[in-house]
């Protein structure tokens, strides 16, 4: 698949349009957190949806809709930044493994192999229980347990790009590695990076929701995963309709959107590849 990732100028613009749109959407979501009213307890407990509380209230009278809106920036931020950090780490190590000597490459690849066989859930559990992480902790923890997955793919692409004529030519003309990386290699691997990034976001959303669901994150951090956990006590009776469904739907909808964006990006890349003369 990575062999096909070559692109044309039109594709690049289109893709950038979509990427910019997504970025704007992410910032919009984060901004929501600033304008939503506070998530306060109240005497109206377990109210079904109605004119006063559009999505009802939970067992201590907190408004579910407000909760959803508070959870949205948290959930999105965790996913977006954990994926970013893990991709940055993966790229760095992939470049190191590609450019550095045999010793560096062996060290990096060996570490990756080792991390690959550890069930990441065990690491997550151990560390999460130890730190009871807040938002920054979760981001780091997720990045720590996912970065290794992308190193091999990225290294292969970087190696391929390194042997291309434009890079060799630039080197021949006396350009330094850093120049080559920023001017030739990064633009070439950009589409792959974007694709991996979108995949990583999905992974991070699922994992973050998972540890919140097990109750291993800071309970004050409202996320869709933690809202779902709170709703588990109410499966019997009616309250699950407004306590479980909204966060579950939000979570799945977000994952679907990310998936759709990823597929669109991939298709555009493919279209660009075939459009290339």
């Amino acid at each position: 698949m990575t062999d096909q990732i070559r692109y044309g100028a039109a594709g690049f613009r289109r893709r950038n349009g979509l990427a910019l749109g997504s970025a704007a959407a992410v910032f919009g979501v984060m901004a929501v957190g600033l304008v939503v009213p506070p998530y306060r307890t109240g005497r109206d407990v377990l109210q079904p949806p109605g004119p006063e509380h559009w999505l009802g209230t939970n067992d201590i009278g907190q408004d579910v809709l407000i909760g959803l809106m508070h959870a949205m920036p948290n959930t999105v931020f965790i996913a977006v930044s954990a994926a970013l950090i893990s991709l940055a780490a993966a790229t760095t190590f992939a470049c190191l493994a590609a450019i550095g000597g045999t010793l560096v490459a062996t060290a990096v690849l060996r570490t990756v192999d080792i991390l690959q066989v550890i069930p990441s859930i065990l690491l997550l559990l151990l560390f999460a229980a130890w730190l009871q992480p807040g938002i920054a902790g979760i981001v780091l923890l997720l990045a720590l347990t996912t970065w290794h997955e992308d190193v091999r793919v990225l290294r292969a692409i970087v190696l391929r790009e390194l042997t291309r004529e434009n890079v060799r030519y630039a080197r021949h003309m006396g350009a330094g590695w850093s120049y080559c990386v920023t001017h030739h290699i990064v633009p070439a691997v950009w589409p792959t990076l974007v694709g991996l990034y979108v995949q990583n976001i999905r992974q991070a959303v699922m994992k973050a929701a998972g540890i919140a669901f097990l109750g291993l994150t800071d309970p004050r951090l409202t996320t869709w995963g933690s809202m779902m956990q709170d709703s588990l006590d109410h499966l019997h009776g009616d309250a699950w309709r407004w306590l479980l469904l909204p966060p579950a739907l939000s979570l799945s909808l977000f994952l679907l959107i990310v998936l759709a964006v990823g597929q669109r990006l991939e298709r555009q890349t493919m279209a660009g590849a075939t459009a290339r003369p």
């Binding site: 060996r110 192999d113 080792i114 066989v117 550890i118 069930p119 990441s120 859930i121 065990l122 559990l125 151990l126 560390f127 229980a129 130890w130 959303v205 699922m206 929701a209 998972g210 669901f213 097990l214 995963g225 779902m228 588990l232 499966l235 019997h236 699950w240 479980l244 579950a248 979570l251 799945s252 909808l253 994952l255 679907l256 998936l259």
Partner: protein, 329 residues
Amino acid sequence: MKSPDPSRRRAGLIYDLVNRVIVFFLLVVLTFALPRLMPGDPLSLLLSSDVTRELTAAEAEALRQDMGLGGSWADQFLTYCRAVLSGDLGYSFHHAAPVSQLLATALPWTGLLVLGAIPLYLIVGVLAGIEAGRVPHRRFDRIATGAMTVLASLPPFTVAVFLLLIFAVLWPVLPLGGAQPIFPAEAPLARSVEILRHALLPTVALAVHEIVRFYLLSRGEAVALSARPFLINARARGISGWRERIDYYGRNLLPVILARMSDSITVLIGAVLYVEVVFSYPGIGHLNLGAIMDRDYTLLQGAVLGLSVLVLSLNWLIDVAAALLARRG
């Protein structure tokens, strides 16, 4: 992929094995160190109920020694390693039982779920994938791929919660949780039926995610195969139905599927934790989570080690099988 010569492949498998031994050793160190770095004193936690009484310093020290918490870290680590090497996983004071015994009662239940889920997702995922990829962009393909996309967007615990809600609460045809009814039947047959009934929902919940992965994998491969001459030939000769799907597609998919299996085991072990929590199923995931919450060092160490030995050896064996198969085919 070009097949390397056998000696290189053997070297590769040995490399994998060495990696896994290193991982195992790292986990021994990690499971030893991490809980000790966590805040909290296990003895105070064991006795943190308001009904316990005040211990004198001497009594507390005696209990501490007994719990393997006496002496320096280095001493504790040496004692620990020696015990692990001799096959003794220690004694959990919280459960008042040897760790190996606790693992032994929990592992079969987890094993039942995992072993039940593997054939389920293989059969459903691969068959649906072949069916969709045989003639891509047909109605079946579009519907199935759409459904799988939606399923892929449900985190594993969501699937478990909804299965529980639908089949145990709203339409209570299956049990709410646990591995057996309160009073298991005496006759072995009735008993097995009950156990299977309890395992059904958790197994399905566990399998769903892998169904999606294997569907997408085999669909992609099947699409590629459909364009290969040997299949076009076979179809022209009138080969269809099961023979086409199993002998032509299935055979050729086998190495790819096996290659993905070792990864799949790791994923399943992660997902089984959520499933066990949602269905309060008495398996190893439950045990692990409890050990973390109670700061039960010995049990946590034993459970993590037991689990990782299981995962590491299983996925190595699958890798070996995949390599052997690749050589034959």
